[in-house]
Amino acid sequence: MYAQMVKSEATQDDPEKLAAFQARIDAGEKIEPKEWMPEGYRKTLIRQIGQHAHSEIVGQLPEGNWITRAPSLERKAILLAKVQDEAGHGLYLYCAAETLGVSRDELTEALLAGKMKYSSIFNYPTLTWADIGAVGWLVDGAAIMNQVPLQRTSFGPYSRAMIRICKEESFHQRQGFDIMRKMATGTKAQRHMAQDALNRFWYPSLMMFGPSDADSVHSAQSIRWKIKMNTNDELRQKFVDQTVPQAEYLGLTVPDPDLRWNADKGGYDFSEPDWDEFFEVLKGNGPCNTERLAARQKAWDDGAWVRDGLMAHAAKQHSAPVAAE
């Protein structure tokens, strides 16, 4: 769930074209880049796919914080494989966005200028090795909840990117759970780290789905266009129902005194996260917003000479045969 609070764009297209477009979506057809689409559909998708791509890229940073301190060669290798996948996911998604007429550089500049967002979750710090477990288990677990249904999204390139991404995300979640299992059954210090990681990541993970959108007009439009497949509340409930038994299996306590099974609805009742905190994080006031964006800005600035150098070389290659004639 790396796209939060994606506002859908109002659309002012020809009603007949809109109806025909909606009929195609209702019939389960995929919309391809060169086909007609409402401007609102295009803009909403750019925002959503872009935000997802940025989340993959910024999401490397909290894990990179522990790659150099991974406690065994095997754990280091697995974490490297995971961040490599994430950069790859970013690449597929930027490519999907490019088919809608926006370049990767434009999207990057919008991120750095604060005009585009990435998931709120990556503004929380990874303080111990157990946090790397929690990120895989909870954060990737929450992301999968959203991404699995998005494999059926109406926009062809986005759907195909999601199919590839989902294959790898389930491996990410398993490795996270495996770290947690090892920690939760380890020494006293390790068990403490595992519980502490769950305490800190539980509510921020619930926030990943965004606030309730049951009455949101924008969400309803996105759902009709099959850009959004479920409401935020549906996905959050599903996540809680899946995760609580896993926490019990690990012998860890979910930090919610009001958590209990509700037989009538066939799911857990649980406490809402602190939405004031969520909106502060979106505004830039989370624990790591400044560092995350500064790290991306530095990579962009420090890398400028490399990108320019590669372009200069390509230009020379391009002009060389002409000069030789």
Partner: protein, 256 residues
């Protein structure tokens, strides 16, 4: 030279030299996570680091087996101090800018590939098997690093200047790779590892070709630092180990 060398001890030493070099370089490259100049390079750097850590598991795993003191690849990686590390000085150099990281990679890859080709002919089949597997990965490392050195060396004015600065800084750390000591000589004589003197011709030719195409100039001074593979390191390695070994050292009873 000429001293009597116990062959198993020499093999342990030789395997640590290989495994420590891939470990230290893999670690350095992994420090780039999320900071590369372009997304494709984030992917490539993670991929190279991952290959090198995988090779470390194989080399140090075999080293522990040869030593016969029940040390695993993890024990060797996480529970030795600086003086026991046998990596080349080149690979412990700090990352610097992307140009330094890339030049360090190229100078190492240009040695690593022919070294693995030689090791693939080893009389010790365990060594040969690892070398064959690693050789496939390293062929790609060299292809990438040589290509980028050429493109950035012969790129813009700034990229050329940065690549030349990286070459000037790192060049004095390359000599050690091809100067054999008693251990290297004993392993070469036993047909277990290639003769390092023989690698020099291949390395020189490859490096000269690529650097010429990159319009970069090899420094005139022939001075070379040495000592890494005998355990005499720069100040940088200790800091890397302090980071890398933190968890297993702080929580010695834990398994991960």
């Amino acid at each position: 030279m000429g001293a009597v060398v116990d062959l198993d001890a020499a093999l342990f030493e030789g395997l640590c030299r290989l495994g420590d070099s891939t470990l230290v370089l893999g670690h350095r490259v992994s420090e780039w996570c999320g900071q590369a100049p372009v997304l494709e390079e984030d992917i490539a750097l993670a991929n190279v680091a991952l290959d090198l850590i995988g090779q470390t598991q194989m080399w140090l795993g075999l080293a522990g087996e040869v030593e016969g003191r029940e040390r695993t690849s993890d024990t060797l990686a996480y529970h030795r101090d600086v003086w026991d590390f046998r990596n080349l000085l080149l690979v412990e150099r700090p990352n610097g800018d992307f140009g330094h990281t890339l030049m360090r990679q190229f100078l190492f890859d240009a040695w690593h590939q022919p070294m693995l080709a030689g090791l693939a002919q080893s009389r010790d089949t365990r060594v040969a098997e690892i070398a064959v597997k690693a050789g496939k990965e390293v062929a790609y490392h060299l292809e990438r690093s040589a290509d980028l050195v050429i493109r950035l060396g012969d790129g813009s004015g700034e990229s050329h200047a940065r690549m030349q600065a990286a070459l000037d800084t790192l060049w004095p750390y390359t000599g050690e790779m091809m100067v054999p000591d008693a251990t290297d000589a004993a392993l070469a004589e036993a047909g277990i590892m290639p003769d390092l003197n023989g690698l020099r011709t291949t390395w020189d030719a490859l490096v000269q070709d690529v650097l010429a195409e990159a319009t970069l100039t090899i420094p005139e001074s022939g001075f070379m630092h040495k000592g890494g593979k005998q355990g005499q390191h720069s100040e940088h390695l200790g800091h890397m180990l302090a980071t890398m070994q933190f968890l297993p050292r702080a929580y010695p009873d834990a398994t991960w």
